[in-house]
C-alpha cells in the first residue's frame, strides 16, 4: 500500500476513471502484480462510497469527478473504465490534460466521428493511447504473431468461439466486489431487446477478438454480415464475409463451470488456434498452436495474461519507451466492430433471423459485458 504523498518517483502513477467491477476485478489485481512498475494514485467514481472504498484498498486518493483526477499531478497514466458512452470524451480530456499515456477500455468510442476526434487529439498532443483489447497484449498471441510467417496472407477462414459463465462468477474469483449494480430482468423475445443484445454482444464480447480477426482480413472495410442470431440466455451466432475471408463468431454465456475461449485462423496449408484463459482471473497467457500438415508448433502458456500485458506496455510508454499502437489501427478496429454490430443488429430489425428460443427466461444486463 502506498499513497500519493509517499509515492516513489520511479513508479508510474495511475488514475482510474470508473471503479466498477472491471476496475476492481481486472485492473487492480493486475496492477498489484506490477507494483515495481506502477502505482495506483487516484480512483474516480460517480458513487463516492464506491470511489472511497476502492481507493482505500490501494491507498489512493479518490474523487467523484474526472476533472479532479486529471488535475492530480501524481497521475501519469489514466485508465478509462467508465460506461461506453463516456469513453471518447474522457480519452480526449486525458490527452489534453497532458498525461503520459491513456488506457481506454473497449470500445474506445461509439461512432466513427468520436474515434476520428480521438485520433486527432492524440496526434495533436502526442499522448499515446492503448485500447483495452487484452488479447492483443496476450503473450500467447504475441508469440504466435512472431512465429506465424506467411499465415495471414493465406487465411480464408476465421472463427471465434466463446463460452463463459456470467461475469460475476469470475469477478468473484478475482476480488471482492463493492457496489455491484443489481441486474435488470428483461424479455429476450422482444425484438428491441434482441437488437440491443446483439449490439451488446458484438461491442461487449466479440470486440475482444475483432482486432485479432482484422489481422487476417485485409478487406475489413468490405465486411458483410450474412447471418446473425441470438443465443440464449446471452450470446450470438454471426456469419460474416470480408473479401475472401469467411468469419464465424460464436458466443454463449451460460452457466458452465468450464469456460472456453478459442480463436482460429485457417488457411490452405497452415492454421492457428489460440486458447485464451478466462477474463478476470490471472490464469496465465493463452496457448497458441500453429499447425501445418504433420507439424504443430506450440507457443505458451506464459506467466501473465493480456491485462498484465496492457499495463506493462503502458508503463513502458509512460517511461518514454516502446511504440504505441497506431491511431489508424485503433480507428480501423473500431470501425470494423461498429460495422459488424450495426449490421448484425440490423439483421434483427429486418426480421431476417431465426429467433432464439421462445421459452427462454429473462437475461441479466450484466451478462452483456465481459471485459
Amino acid at each position: 500500500m502506498s499513497s500519493q504523498a509517499d509515492g516513489s518517483p520511479a513508479l508510474v502513477g495511475v488514475g482510474i476513471l470508473g471503479a466498477g467491477p472491471v476496475t476492481q476485478a481486472i485492473h487492480l489485481p493486475s496492477l498489484a502484480r506490477l507494483g515495481h512498475l506502477l502505482e495506483v494514485r487516484h480512483i474516480m467514481d460517480v458513487d463516492p462510497l464506491v470511489a472511497e472504498a476502492v481507493a482505500s484498498r490501494v491507498g489512493a486518493n479518490f474523487s467523484t469527478s474526472m476533472e479532479e483526477l486529471l488535475a492530480d499531478p501524481a497521475v501519469d497514466v489514466v485508465a478509462i473504465c467508465s460506461p461506453h458512452q463516456f469513453h471518447a470524451a474522457q480519452v480526449i480530456a486525458s490527452c489534453r490534460a497532458g498525461k503520459k499515456a491513456v488506457l481506454c477500455e473497449k470500445p474506445f468510442a461509439m461512432s466513427g466521428e468520436e474515434a476520428a476526434g480521438i485520433s486527432a487529439v492524440s496526434a495533436e498532443t502526442g499522448v499515446p493511447i492503448i485500447v483495452g483489447a487484452m488479447h492483443t497484449f496476450d503473450p500467447g498471441w504475441l508469440g504466435a504473431e512472431e512465429a506465424w510467417g506467411d499465415l495471414p496472407g493465406q487465411v480464408h477462414t476465421v472463427r471465434s468461439s466463446i463460452v463463459l459463465p456470467p461475469n460475476p462468477r469470475f469477478e468473484d474469483f478475482a476480488t471482492e466486489i463493492v457496489g455491484r449494480v443489481p441486474m435488470q430482468a428483461r424479455d429476450i423475445t422482444d425484438p428491441e431487446v434482441m437488437k440491443a443484445m446483439m449490439t451488446g454482444g458484438v461491442m461487449g464480447l466479440a470486440i475482444h477478438d475483432l482486432p485479432l480477426v482484422r489481422r487476417f482480413t485485409p478487406d475489413f472495410a468490405a465486411v458483410e454480415v450474412l447471418h446473425a442470431e441470438i443465443v440464449a440466455p446471452f450470446g450470438y451466432v454471426i456469419s460474416l464475409r470480408a473479401g475472401n475471408v469467411a468469419i464465424e463468431l460464436r458466443a454463449a454465456m451460460n452457466g458452465t463451470w468450464e469456460p472456453s475461449w478459442e480463436f482460429e485462423a485457417i488457411g490452405d496449408d497452415a492454421a492457428l488456434k489460440i486458447d485464451f484463459t478466462p477474463s478476470y482471473v490471472h490464469a496465465g497467457s493463452a496457448t497458441a498452436r500453429i499447425r501445418t500438415a504433420g507439424k504443430t508448433t506450440v507457443l505458451g502458456p506464459f506467466g501473465h495474461n493480456g491485462y498484465e500485458g496492457e499495463w506493462r506496455k503502458l508503463a513502458e510508454l509512460a517511461s518514454g519507451r516502446g511504440t504505441p499502437p497506431s491511431a489508424e489501427t485503433l480507428l480501423h478496429d473500431l470501425e470494423f466492430a461498429l460495422a459488424i454490430a450495426q449490421a448484425a443488429a440490423g439483421r434483427i430489425e429486418k426480421g431476417s433471423i431465426e429467433t432464439g428460443r421462445n421459452d427462454s427466461g429473462p437475461v441479466n444486463e450484466e451478462q452483456e459485458i465481459s471485459a
Binding site: T157, H227, R250, W257, D269, R291, R357
Partner: protein, 269 residues
C-alpha cells in the same frame, strides 16, 4: 462360427473405401471372391445406385457403398427389399463406431444435451478441393446418425474454401454448420451442443486410420470423457454389413440417407 463372406471390389471402390486393407483386417468374416461375390463394394461416385442395383440383381447378398453422392436411392431400396439384400453405406464420419445406434452412452449424452441446448455448432474439416455438397452430405449424415432433427436449413455462404449453413432444432435453437477446407488440419467432423450449464462435444476422426472418436460431456456434475474405440469408420461399416447379412436383418442406411437428401433439398428452396 463366423460365416466368411466373399467380397469383390472394383479399383474405384477399393480406393474410395480402402476395401483391401479393411477386408484384410477382418480375415475371418471376409475373403476375396473367386466368382459370384457375397458382398460387392461399390464406389459412391455418380451412378452408384445403379451399380448397387446391378450387384443385387447379380446375386449379391450385400452391397457396401463408399462415400455415396447425393442420389435418389428409392430404386435401390426397392431392389434390396425385394431381394432381401443388405445395403450399407460407408460414411467417413457417421459410420464411426462411437455413433453406432447401439452405443447408448454416446447417444444418451447427445440426447441429454439436446434437451437443454442453446446452440448446436458443427465444423467439418476436409482437404482442399473437396466437393462442398458431398461434404455437407457427410456432415448432415452425422446429425442424422445422432438423431438430431434439423429444419429450416439454408446456405449462408459457400465458396472454394468451405461453407456455412444455418438451421434450427427443436425450440428454435440455432444450428450452425461450417466446413473448412485445409490441408493443415486432420479431416475431422466436430459436433458441439452448448447447453444452459455445460456442453457435449463429439469429434469424429478421418477413417484413413483407426483414430478414436472423442466424446466429452460437461454438466453441473463435472466432465465426462466417454470410452471410444480405435476402429475406423470403414472397418465398423464392414463389420456391420457382415452382422446384417449373417443375421438376415435389414440395415437402415438408405432410410437415413433419404433424410440426408431431404436436408440437402431444403437448400434449394
Amino acid at each position: 462360427m463366423n460365416t466368411q463372406l466373399s467380397v469383390a471390389a472394383d479399383p474405384q471402390a477399393d480406393t474410395a473405401g480402402a476395401v483391401s486393407a479393411v477386408i484384410a483386417s477382418l480375415p475371418v468374416s471376409f475373403g476375396p471372391a473367386a466368382e459370384a461375390p457375397d458382398v460387392v463394394a461399390v464406389s459412391g461416385h455418380a451412378g452408384w445406385t445403379t451399380r448397387a442395383v446391378d450387384a443385387i440383381l447379380n446375386g449379391a447378398k450385400g452391397v457396401v457403398v463408399s462415400s455415396p453422392l447425393a442420389e435418389d436411392a428409392a430404386g435401390l431400396s426397392a431392389a434390396a427389399g425385394a431381394a432381401e439384400a443388405v445395403v450399407v453405406l460407408d460414411r467417413r464420419w457417421a459410420g464411426n463406431v462411437a455413433l453406432d445406434s447401439a452405443n447408448d452412452k454416446v447417444h444418451g449424452v447427445i440426447g441429454a444435451a439436446l434437451g437443454d441446448a442453446v446452440l448446436l455448432d458443427s465444423v467439418a474439416i476436409a482437404a482442399p478441393g473437396t466437393d462442398p455438397l458431398h461434404l455437407l452430405a457427410d456432415q448432415f449424415a452425422v446429425l442424422v446418425q445422432c438423431e438430431i432433427e434439423v429444419r429450416n436449413v439454408r446456405m449462408v455462404q459457400c465458396n472454394g474454401n468451405g461453407y456455412t449453413v444455418a438451421g434450427v432444432i427443436a425450440g428454435g435453437v440455432p444450428v450452425a454448420l461450417q466446413a473448412i477446407l485445409t490441408s493443415a488440419l486432420p479431416a475431422t467432423a466436430s459436433l458441439t451442443i452448448l447447453t444452459s450449464a455445460g456442453r457435449a462435444d463429439v469429434v469424429l476422426p478421418d477413417p484413413a486410420a483407426a483414430w478414436p472418436a472423442e466424446v466429452h460431456a460437461v454438466t453441473t456434475e463435472g466432465a465426462t470423457m466417454l470410452p471410444t474405440l480405435y476402429e475406423s469408420s470403414h472397418r465398423t461399416t464392414w463389420s456391420r454389413a457382415h452382422a446384417h447379412i449373417a443375421a438376415r436383418t435389414a440395415a437402415d442406411d438408405l432410410a437415413r440417407f433419404t433424410t440426408v437428401l431431404s436436408l440437402l433439398s431444403q437448400l434449394n428452396r
